[in-house]
Amino acid sequence: MNDLVVHLVLLFVISAAIVTIGVFFSHPDDDEAFKRLPRRLGVFLLGCAAVAALMTLIGLTTASLG
């Protein structure tokens, strides 16, 4: 399988675990926690994408080895 796909799948799996345990910790009520889960997961993944994009940009410009 494509290496990038494997890494994206692993990122999704680990993000799901982090966000789920995080939302459980901040919301004692199960229904409330499950309701907030999709939005939180989306925000987390978008945040990860933004950090990855920023790091790629820095790698190609100011921290470029070339």
Binding site: V6, H7, L10, V13, I14, A16, A17, I18, T20, I21, G22, F24, F25, P28, D30, A33
Partner: protein, 279 residues
């Protein structure tokens, strides 16, 4: 909303917890609960002593030379049992300074010393809860420290013990799944304290599934490149660290329930006194 009426504390909960950290059972001696204190001391220190015997005290010799320093062992799970950690550091330290052959049961030994540290953390929780009367019977919940201990032994187990089965099942599937996935990706090389001293400590917070996986697939002979070894190691370690958050969730919920139980109890007590006065 009724304000929980706390009973007079048996002692300062923070002092009880800190004393237990310094000496297993110390917090209970301070609270006057000698039997619990002695039992706690024997269980926690007995496990540490067994670990030292099995490993000849060579656990910290797993650390690479460049990582050795006065505070290096303080990031290990043994920190939970401070007296044990200090004893091992002073008596055995990092060994004579040259590589030696490890004894046959060294891995089992270091597992025992690490588990002793983790067990003492739950004894600290018990001392704190006992000092605050949070574990008294009749508060409508299982013992707080027992639920936390169970949450460590089986991820999600503490939630189930508290009656939150749906949440417990999700936590179990997610965390145990991450551990298994991580072990599969790194072909068991993550389950070796000699290779990954600190990551191993993080993984151990995953409880019994980690211990079982290490007994089945741990310390493998690696004679080829493992493509996703590092990804697997991070996944498995993160599962253990996330279980700490799950244990804190169990603690928080249990503490709230106990305070609620206290409030109901004190309300009942007050209303019965008022009824007596009226009659």
């Amino acid at each position: 909303m009724p304000v929980p009426q706390r009973r007079k504390q048996a002692g300062d909960p923070n002092v009880a917890a800190i004393l237990t950290w310094f000496l297993p059972g110390g917090g209970h001696f301070y609270l006057g609960r000698m039997r619990t204190g002695i039992l706690g001391f024997v269980a926690v220190w007995g496990l540490y002593w067994l670990g030292l015997e099995l490993s000849d005290g060579m656990g910290f010799e797993f650390l690479n030379k460049e990582l050795r320093g006065p505070f290096a062992p303080a990031l290990a799970p043994e920190l939970g049992n401070l007296s044990g950690l200090l004893w091992q550091s002073r008596t055995y330290g990092f060994g004579p300074g040259f590589p030696r052959v490890f004894p046959e049961h060294v891995n089992l030994g270091v597992m025992c010393t690490a588990c002793s540290g983790i067990l003492n953390i739950f004894l600290m929780i018990k001392a704190h809860a006992d000092a605050s009367h949070l574990e008294e019977p009749g508060l409508g919940q299982v013992s707080l420290s027992l639920a936390c201990l169970f949450a460590w032994i089986v991820p999600g187990g503490g939630h189930c013990l508290q009656g939150r089965k749906k949440r417990g099942l999700v936590v179990f599937i997610l965390l145990t799944g991450l551990l298994v996935l991580g072990t599969w990706l790194s072909e068991g090389s993550n389950l070796d304290r000699q290779r990954h001293f600190y990551y191993w400590g993080g993984q151990l917070m995953g409880g019994m599934p980690v211990i079982a996986l290490e007994q089945l697939f741990g310390q493998p002979v690696v004679n080829h490149e493992i493509k996703y070894a590092e990804a697997g190691l991070v996944l498995a370690c993160l599962a253990g660290l996330l279980n700490i958050l799950a244990i804190l969730d169990v603690y928080g919920w249990g503490e709230r329930s106990a305070l609620k139980g206290m409030s109901v109890k004190s309300d009942k007590g007050r209303s019965s006194v008022t009824a007596k006065e009226a009659s």
